[in-house]
């Protein structure tokens, strides 16, 4: 009768499947949970789940993704589940529509949807009771079909007539202009925002009372994200019940009535949004909040843990080699109080950021009176008639962190490539350490290459997959440091170990392959490698955007430390205004290949001159609770 693949494995209220102690008995787990249940809520309970466990059998031990959580969703509510990757938040959401995966084992003491216990006719519930919105509409909508067909499919499945008009009405309701034309287009022909709107329209098509949005804005630019959040808020205001899944506390704070914080399959804390964000009781929640980079966090450490800048050996937990969804243990420990560690504050940098006399190496730029490490003048890059970068002037001085911010397609990565010398500019020039850099043959640039390093967003692809960590770092060491003998030992030299220690990693990683590292470890190895040749400038292209917020915090702290101790200049490229504001001394705002505004970071962000900058800043979902 129903979906044969999922249904039999969801023996929802099956008393035998549960431990005797839990059988038929509701054991509240946390105080917050108790409060919520005690809440005088006459509204209909759409979802009610107790002691939900989801396990994925695996050859090397089962993966216990969700470990006994309780969840109630009332009609008209907006509930958010927040957590880092692998916390089990998505699995929880998908379990509610029977889509945890074909091999998922789901157990619970109560599993009621729309007031009824199972077994469920999932195919009717999906789309009919709950609509699901996933992260990236480019891949969440079938790329081979028109969006009209995708929306109409829901209508057909649920036997709703008048499809053509309904598709148009749905597209209109999510504010897609020219809906008739758009309905005939394919996802790739639409901008990210329109795609996401179409995806939401398809989730809403059969009029489900519940909308589950799993990271609905993560892949979007900040301005578009803001629009989508507005759209969701509008639907919520119109009476739609929302279950919002996100890693981003700021996003959650804009929409949710109630927040559940998940970690390692547990709900560690839950409560009304305002309460939870302003007065988090659980240390993990506190760390999460502290780790968010923003204007407010400027000048202080984000992670509670001191980054071993040069001396102390770090106690990095053993990296998890088991695959997701269980993430590598984050560096937090439950008993440490975040306040005590974040208390270490930094002196705010001057806008020039020069710290004379602290340089570990003598470089040309030391002798330069201006301290200018790299200077780009009138940079312009075009492919045929298509101009990607137009008249960009940029200067980075010694010890300075310059932020380059912009949305996707603004040309910021092209600027990085031009500066790095991967591609020649159409016009304009770059001088590096006072000498010409562009216009040279690669052969002539080669001796100076080491002074300019690059860290990219995806460190995994930046490592030769066949090389060990030790060898990867050793490759970057100058020949003077690594002689033939040590090279033969595949980078076990002291220099390599020292570098690893500086980025807070232990020597036990030397023989690992990049695949065996966690995301944070990889980015640290990338930083260690970039530091190896003692560069005067590191170009960081979105170095933290793929990382969880707590890992991001550690990496940002590490980068700040490097500038402080080595005086290395950083050009920091990011789409995240919070990160830039937290870290950078000066900022350039790019749009469509043009720098629309630049200046000291506080000036630009607090007093934006250009309307685009203003729009950008307005769009950022700030944590709406003051700390």
């Amino acid at each position: 009768m129903t979906d044969s693949r999922v249904h039999p494995r969801t023996p929802t209220p099956d008393p035998q499947a549960l431990p005797a102690s839990l059988n038929g008995k509701h054991v509240p787990l946390t105080a917050a949970d108790e409060t919520r249940d005690a809440g005088p809520d006459a509204r209909t309970l759409l979802v009610s789940v107790r002691e939900l466990h989801v396990t994925f059998p695996h050859r090397r031990g089962d993966v216990h993704a969700v470990r006994g959580i309780n969840l109630d969703i009332h009609q008209g509510e907006c509930v958010a589940i927040v957590g880092e990757s692998g916390s089990g938040k998505s699995v929880t959401a998908r379990t509610l529509v029977g889509l945890a995966g074909s091999n998922a084992q789901v157990r619970s003491s109560r599993f009621e949807i729309d007031g009824r216990p199972g077994p469920f006719d999932w195919r009717t519930l999906r789309g009919g009771f709950a609509g699901l919105v996933l992260q990236d509409a480019l891949v969440s909508l079938d790329p081979l079909r028109t969006i009209g067909a995708e929306i109409a499919e829901v209508l057909r499945v649920h036997r709703i007539g008048g499809r053509e008009q309904r598709v148009r009405a749905l597209l209109e309701s999510v504010h897609v202009p020219d809906p008739d034309r758009r309905a005939r287009q394919h996802p790739h022909q639409l901008s990210g925002g329109l795609r996401q709107r179409a995806l939401i329209a398809s989730a809403l098509a059969a009029g489900p009372p519940l909308l589950i949005a799993d990271e609905p804005t993560t892949a979007l630019d900040v301005t578009v994200q803001s629009q989508i959040l507005d759209l969701l808020a509008e639907r919520h205001a119109a009476g739609e019940t929302l279950l919002l899944i996100s890693h981003d506390l700021a996003v959650v704070s804009r929409l949710a009535d109630r927040v559940l914080v998940m970690r390692n399959g547990h709900i560690v804390e839950s409560g009304p949004t305002a309460t939870l964000l302003s007065a988090p009781t659980h240390s993990y929640t506190q760390q999460l909040l502290a780790a968010v980079p923003s204007a407010a966090s400027r000048g202080r450490r984000l992670s509670h843990q001191p980054t071993a800048s040069s001396t102390t050996a770090p106690n990095q937990p053993a990296p998890s080699t088991t695959p997701n969804p269980v993430p590598p243990q984050s560096s937090t420990t439950p008993n440490s109080t975040p306040r005590s560690s974040t208390a270490q504050t930094r002196a705010p940098q001057s806008s020039t950021g020069v710290r004379a006399g602290q340089a570990p190496s003598t470089s040309d730029s030391d002798q330069l009176p201006s301290g200018v490490v790299i200077e780009a003048t009138g940079l312009r890059k075009g492919y045929g008639a298509h101009i990607v970068v137009d008249d960009v002037n940029l200067t980075v001085r010694r010890g300075e962190i310059v932020g380059l911010v912009g949305e996707s397609g603004s040309g910021k990565t092209t600027v990085a490539q031009l500066l790095f010398g991967l591609t020649p500019p159409t016009s304009g020039s770059v001088a590096f350490e006072g000498a010409p850099w562009t216009g040279l043959t690669e052969r002539r640039r080669r001796p100076r290459r080491r002074r300019l390093q690059l860290i990219s967003q995806d460190p995994l692809s930046a490592f030769d997959p066949r090389w060990t960590v030790g060898r990867i770092i050793a490759e970057a060491l100058p020949a003077s440091i690594v002689d033939q003998d040590t090279r033969r030992r595949r980078g076990r030299s002291d220099a390599v170990q020292t570098l690893l220690e500086r980025v807070g990693l232990g020597a036990d990683l030397l023989d690992r392959y990049p695949r065996q590292l966690s995301g944070g470890q990889r980015q640290r190895v990338a930083i260690a490698r970039a530091l190896a040749p003692r560069p005067s400038l590191i170009i960081c292209d979105e170095p933290v955007s793929a990382l969880d917020v707590s890992v991001q915090a550690q990496v940002l702290d590490l980068l700040a430390d490097i500038r402080d101790t080595d005086g290395t200049a950083l050009l920091f490229i990011s789409h995240d205004l919070g990160v830039i504001h937290h870290l950078a001394d000066r900022v350039l705002v790019m749009r469509d290949g043009v720098v629309v505004e630049q200046g000291p970071v506080d000036d630009v962000f607090h007093n934006p001159q250009h309307e685009y900058t203003r729009a950008l800043i307005d769009a950022v979902p700030a944590l709406e609770v003051s700390r």
Binding site: R5, V97, T124, L125, R126, A130, L141, Q189, L190, L199
Partner: protein, 309 residues
């Protein structure tokens, strides 16, 4: 535009194939005269007559250019052995081969689609995978011989002989279709597996779509893309397989002509088969490229970049 470009490169490929074949045959041992004489009487007088008749005393370059020039006009010359225009020889034999190839391709594709879609359960998948592995790894002529022995000699269900009637097509077509189906099933299943891991499948399921519908409406179309890339290979299997299948089943066709021509060094026919094969290859690949466009809208030349906010 794409088609024009494809056709231009296709012409280059065609020319290269023809030239390569010409050079290869030029390098073949034994002279053209030997080939024409065969095992018949052989005297200087006869040789002189043959050389004069076929213009073999001209320099190789002249003969090559003459050949190219005439080939460009559709004149593929005359068969040394069969004494008929090559175009006629090929035209006469193309029907049976085409019938066989098309039947085998359709049957193979149908079988592959059915298997890939229906064998989703672990045990069925296992059975099907074993079947695929076996048919892909077995020499096609062995399949043919076994089928022939069982269904024709022993059971008498199908005629043993020749290229007449539908019944005589069944066994050869099945023989040729089995390896095709084996490979296509693997590719389709792999494509379906990959597609089923994509987020849009989750979205589709979340709409309440049944598993079969997800498979057929969404995943299958994605799985067709890698399958289409196999057309070049498919073409090789079909044309190459035809030589063997036609031999085993005593069917007439291009394969037989090719074999005979190679064996007797009947240069004009060999060259014509090569040129013809290259031509079909170019056409099929152009069609494959077009079908890409049909299947995947992302590859269509974009009239507009992403629009809207």
């Amino acid at each position: 535009m794409i088609v024009v470009r494809r056709l231009l490169t296709g012409l280059v490929v065609l020319w290269a194939a023809a030239t390569a074949a010409y050079l290869a045959l030029l390098a073949a041992p034994g002279s053209t005269v030997d080939s024409i004489i065969g095992d018949g009487a052989d005297t200087p007088l006869i040789r002189a007559q043959i050389i004069q008749e076929w213009g073999l005393d001209r320099p190789a370059v002249v003969q090559y250019l003459d050949y190219l020039w005439r080939a460009a006009q559709g004149d593929l010359g005359r068969s040394y052995l069969l004494q008929r225009p090559v175009r006629e020889v090929i035209a006469d034999q193309i029907g049976p081969t085409l019938t066989l190839a098309v039947a085998a391709a359709l049957l193979g594709a149908l079988l592959a689609l059915t298997l890939a879609v229906t064998t989703r359960r672990p045990w069925a998948r296992r059975v099907s995978s074993t079947f695929e592995l076996v048919v892909v790894s077995t020499p096609p002529f062995l399949i043919g011989i076994v089928l022939l022995s069982i269904f024709s000699f022993s059971l008498g269900w199908f005629p043993v002989s020749g290229g007449q009637g539908f019944a005589s097509l069944v066994l050869p077509a099945v023989t040729l279709a089995l390896p095709v189906a084996g490979v296509l099933t693997q590719v389709l299943r792999d494509g379906i597996d990959r597609a089923m891991d994509e987020p849009f499948v989750v979205t589709a399921r979340a709409r309440g779509l049944g598993e079969r519908a997800v498979l057929v409406r969404h995943a299958l179309r994605h799985a067709l893309l890698p399958a289409v890339t196999l057309t070049g290979w498919l073409f090789g299997i079909l044309l190459g397989g035809a030589v063997i299948i036609e031999t085993v089943f005593g069917r007439p066709g291009l394969g037989q002509v090719t074999l005979q021509a190679v064996n007797s060094a009947d240069m004009p026919v060999v060259l014509a088969v090569v040129v013809f094969s290259a031509f079909v290859y170019v056409v099929i690949n152009t069609l494959a490229d077009l079908s890409y466009l049909l299947i995947d809208p992302r590859l269509r030349p974009a009239p507009a970049t992403p629009t809207g906010a």
